[in-house]
C-alpha cells in the first residue's frame, strides 16, 4: 500500500474472521458473526499502527487473528515475509517469539498461581534452553526494563496494582525479543494517571528495542499520542486508514468525523462551542450486517448507492485510504474540492 522504502513487517490482506452461530435443538449452524470481515493493512517496521473503533467493532478479534490465536476464516497474514494465515501449530510455534501480545485486563492475563518470576520466564521456558541462572538473570533484566523492582520477583499478581500488573504483562511480552507486539487495549483497564505511565513505557521500549506495535484502543486521544498511522474500524471493516496527523486534522470518512467529534476538548471555551456529530441508532449486529456499506444505517451523509454496494478501499491522498462512496474512485479530489463536494452532498441529503 505504501511505498516500499521502509520495510513492511506485517502485511494483512482481506482478513476474515467469522464465528459460527449454532442454534436450535440440533445445534445446527444458522449463521455467523462476521467479527472481522475483509481487513487489509500493512505495518511498517518500527511504527505504531493505531486501531480504533467502538466496542464490538472487531478490533480485539482482529488483533488476535493477526497473531493467529484464532483459526482465521480466510485471508492472508504475513509477518516478516512469512505467511502464517494458514500455518498449523507446528509451523507457528517457532514464529511465536517474533510476535507477542499485551492484554487488556492485566488481572486476567496473569495466572494467579504463578509468581512474577515464573510468569515472565514462561516464554523462556518454552523457547529457549537457558540454564536456570541465566533465565533468572534475564527475568531481572526484563523487570528492570519495565521498571519493576527486582524484589517483586517472588510475589504473586494479586499483590500488585493495575499498572504494575500491566508492566509484568509487558515484561512477559518482551521476554523473547519480539519484533511485533499487538497491544490489545493495554490501557483500557487502568486509571488515567497510570495510563500515561504505561504508554510512555511502551514508547520508551519501542525506541530501545525497535518494536513494531499494533495498538488497539478506543481512546482516540491516546492513539493520537502514540500512533504513527491510524486505522478506524467499523463493524468488522476498516473505514479509514491514514497517517495520524492527516486523520485527526482532516477525517474523510463520516464515521471518523463522528468519532473525532466525540473526543472531549480540554479548553472549556472550545468545548462549549464544539459541535458534536451524534450518530443515531445502534451498531448493527455483525451477524446481520446491512446491505451495501456497513455504516449506511447510521451515516449522516448516506446516499442511495450506500445501500446497494459496499465501497472499496481507495487511496484518496497519498497514504490516506478511505472506504466511502463520497469519494468516487475515478477522481482524486484536492482538499478544497472535497470539502465543497462534501458540503454539496450534505445539502443534497437535506432535500
Amino acid at each position: 500500500m505504501l511505498d516500499d522504502t521502509p520495510r513492511t513487517l506485517v502485511k494483512v490482506r482481506d482478513l476474515k474472521m467469522h464465528f459460527p452461530i449454532f442454534a436450535g435443538l440440533f445445534r445446527r449452524r444458522v449463521g455467523e458473526v462476521k467479527a472481522v470481515d475483509g481487513v487489509s493493512f500493512d505495518i511498517i517496521e518500527g511504527e505504531t499502527l493505531g486501531l480504533v473503533g467502538e466496542s464490538g467493532c472487531g478490533k480485539s478479534t482482529c488483533g488476535r487473528a493477526v497473531l493467529r490465536l484464532y483459526d482465521i476464516t480466510s485471508g492472508s497474514i504475513s509477518i516478516d515475509g512469512q505467511e502464517i494465515g494458514d500455518a498449523g501449530y507446528q509451523k507457528l510455534r517457532p514464529m511465536r517469539p517474533q510476535m507477542q501480545m499485551v492484554f487488556q485486563d492485566p488481572q486476567a492475563s496473569l495466572n494467579p498461581r504463578m509468581t512474577v518470576a515464573r510468569i515472565i520466564s514462561e516464554p523462556l521456558d518454552e523457547h529457549t534452553t537457558l540454564s536456570k541462572a541465566e533465565k533468572q538473570e534475564r527475568v531481572y533484566e526484563l523487570m528492570d526494563a519495565v521498571g519493576l523492582n527486582r524484589d517483586f520477583a517472588n510475589r504473586y499478581p494479586h499483590e500488585f496494582s493495575g499498572g504494575q500488573r500491566q508492566r509484568i504483562g509487558i515484561a512477559r511480552a518482551l521476554a523473547l525479543n519480539p519484533k511485533f507486539i499487538v497491544c490489545d487495549e493495554p490501557i483500557a483497564a487502568l486509571d488515567v494517571s497510570i495510563q500515561a505511565q504505561v504508554v510512555n513505557l511502551l514508547e520508551e521500549l519501542q525506541d530501545k528495542f525497535n518494536l513494531t506495535y499494533l495498538f488497539i484502543s478506543h481512546d482516540l486521544s491516546m492513539v493520537r499520542h502514540i500512533a504513527d498511522r491510524v486505522a478506524v474500524m467499523y463493524l468488522g471493516k476498516v473505514a479509514e486508514l491514514a497517517p495520524r496527523d492527516a486523520l485527526y486534522s482532516k477525517p474523510l470518512h463520516p464515521y471518523t468525523e463522528a468519532l473525532l467529534s466525540a473526543v472531549p476538548e480540554p479548553d472549556p471555551n472550545v468545548e462549549t462551542r464544539r459541535e458534536r456529530i451524534i450518530l443515531r441508532g445502534d451498531v448493527p449486529s455483525p451477524a446481520h450486517p446491512p446491505q451495501g456499506c456497513n455504516f449506511s444505517t447510521r451515516c449522516p451523509k448516506v446516499m442511495d448507492i450506500c445501500h446497494q454496494s459496499d465501497p472499496d478501499m481507495q487511496e484518496v491522498e497519498p497514504g490516506h485510504f478511505v472506504a466511502c462512496h463520497l469519494y468516487p474512485p475515478t477522481t482524486k479530489p484536492t482538499t478544497k474540492n472535497m470539502v465543497a463536494s462534501e458540503a454539496n452532498k450534505s445539502i443534497q441529503q437535506g432535500e
Binding site: M101, M114, D151
Partner: protein, 306 residues
C-alpha cells in the same frame, strides 16, 4: 511504588524461595488443618507401627476371654469370640485407610483426567460427558455385585485372597465415584480456558499438555482438593457397607467397617465396641477434611498470608 528504580541492594534483594515453603507456612497458620494433620499422622503411626508393639494376633480366638471390658491385657476389651479389639482396630485401620486413600486417588485421577479432557478439548466434551452421565445413571450396588461375582475368584487366585479383594475393592470404589469430580473439574476448566492468561500462554506457543499442567491444573486444585477429602470419607464408608453385605473382605478379616457392623448386634450389651471403630472412622474422615481445607487455602496464593 510503580516508578521506583530497581534497587539491587543486598538487603532488599532476595533470591526466589521455593514456593512449597510458603505453602507450609500458610498451612501452619490454619489451626484446624494442623490439628487434623497431627491426628491423621497419629492414626497412621498407630495403624502402621502399632502392630509391631502390640503383638497379639488380631485373629487369635480366646473364647474364654470373650466379651470382656477394658482390662490391662485387652485395653479396648475383646469381641464375642474373645479376639483382642485393640489388635483388630489396628489391623482393620490399615486396610480401611489403605482402601480409602487408594480408591480416592484412583477416582481423583480418573475424574480429573476426564474432566480436564472434556473441558479443554471441545471435540471430547460431548462423548466424555455422556460417558460420565452413563456412569451416573448406573445403579451402583448391582454393578458392584456383578463386579465382585465376576472378578473375585480370578483376582483371589492371582494375587491371594486379601490382595485380590483389596484390588477389587479399590477398583470398584474408584471407578464408581469419579463422576462428581469430573463434572466439577470440567466446569472449572471451561471457565478457565477462556481466561486471558490461557490466551497469553497460547500466544507464547505453549503446547496443550503443558498448558494443562501449568495453567489449568493448578487452578482447579481447590475443587479437586475438596472432592478428594470427601472422597476418602465416602470410600471408607462404601467399603464398610460392602463388607457388611458380604461382598467385601472375608468376614474374619478386620476392617473398621466390618468391626462396626459386627458390633451392631451387641449394641445394647457392649456399646463401647461400636464406639471405637466409629470414632476411628469419624476422626480419620474429619482430620482428612481439615487437611484438605488447609491445603486448599495454602495452595491459593490469594488467600496465603491472610
Amino acid at each position: 511504588m510503580t516508578d521506583t528504580a530497581p534497587q539491587i541492594t543486598e538487603e532488599a534483594f532476595r533470591r526466589p524461595r521455593n514456593q512449597w515453603w510458603d505453602v507450609w507456612d500458610q498451612f501452619r497458620t490454619h489451626k484446624g488443618a494442623l490439628v487434623g494433620f497431627i491426628i491423621f499422622i497419629t492414626i497412621m503411626v498407630a495403624v502402621l507401627i502399632g502392630p509391631y508393639l502390640w503383638t497379639i494376633d488380631p485373629g487369635y480366638i480366646d473364647i474364654r476371654a470373650r466379651n470382656q471390658g477394658p482390662t490391662l491385657a485387652h485395653p479396648l476389651g475383646t469381641d464375642q469370640l474373645g479376639r483382642d479389639m485393640l489388635a483388630r482396630m489396628m489391623a482393620g485401620g490399615k486396610v480401611s485407610v489403605a482402601v480409602g486413600v487408594t480408591s480416592m486417588a484412583l477416582s481423583l485421577i480418573l475424574g480429573t483426567l476426564i474432566g480436564v479432557l472434556a473441558g479443554y478439548f471441545k471435540k471430547l466434551d460431548g462423548p466424555l460427558m455422556r460417558f460420565t452421565d452413563l456412569f451416573l445413571a448406573l445403579p451402583l450396588l448391582p454393578l458392584l455385585l456383578v463386579m465382585v461375582m465376576l472378578f473375585r475368584e480370578a483376582l483371589s487366585s492371582r494375587f491371594g485372597p486379601e490382595t485380590g479383594i483389596f484390588i477389587l475393592m479399590v477398583t470398584a470404589i474408584g471407578i464408581t465415584s469419579w463422576m462428581q469430580t469430573a463434572r466439577i473439574v470440567r466446569g472449572d476448566v471451561l471457565a478457565l480456558k477462556e481466561r486471558e492468561f490461557v490466551l497469553a500462554a497460547r500466544s507464547i506457543g505453549t503446547p496443550s499438555y503443558r498448558m494443562i499442567l501449568r495453567h489449568i491444573l493448578p487452578n482447579v486444585m481447590s475443587p479437586v482438593m475438596v472432592s478428594a477429602t470427601l472422597g476418602i470419607a465416602s470410600a471408607i464408608i462404601t467399603e464398610s457397607s460392602l463388607s457388611f453385605l458380604g461382598l467385601g473382605f472375608p468376614p474374619d478379616f478386620p476392617t473398621w467397617g466390618r468391626l462396626l457392623f459386627d458390633a451392631v448386634d451387641y449394641l445394647n450389651q457392649y456399646p463401647e465396641r461400636v464406639f471405637w471403630p466409629g470414632l476411628a472412622i469419624s476422626l480419620t474422615v474429619l482430620s482428612v477434611n481439615y487437611i484438605g481445607d488447609g491445603l486448599r487455602d495454602a495452595l491459593d496464593p490469594r488467600i496465603r498470608g491472610r
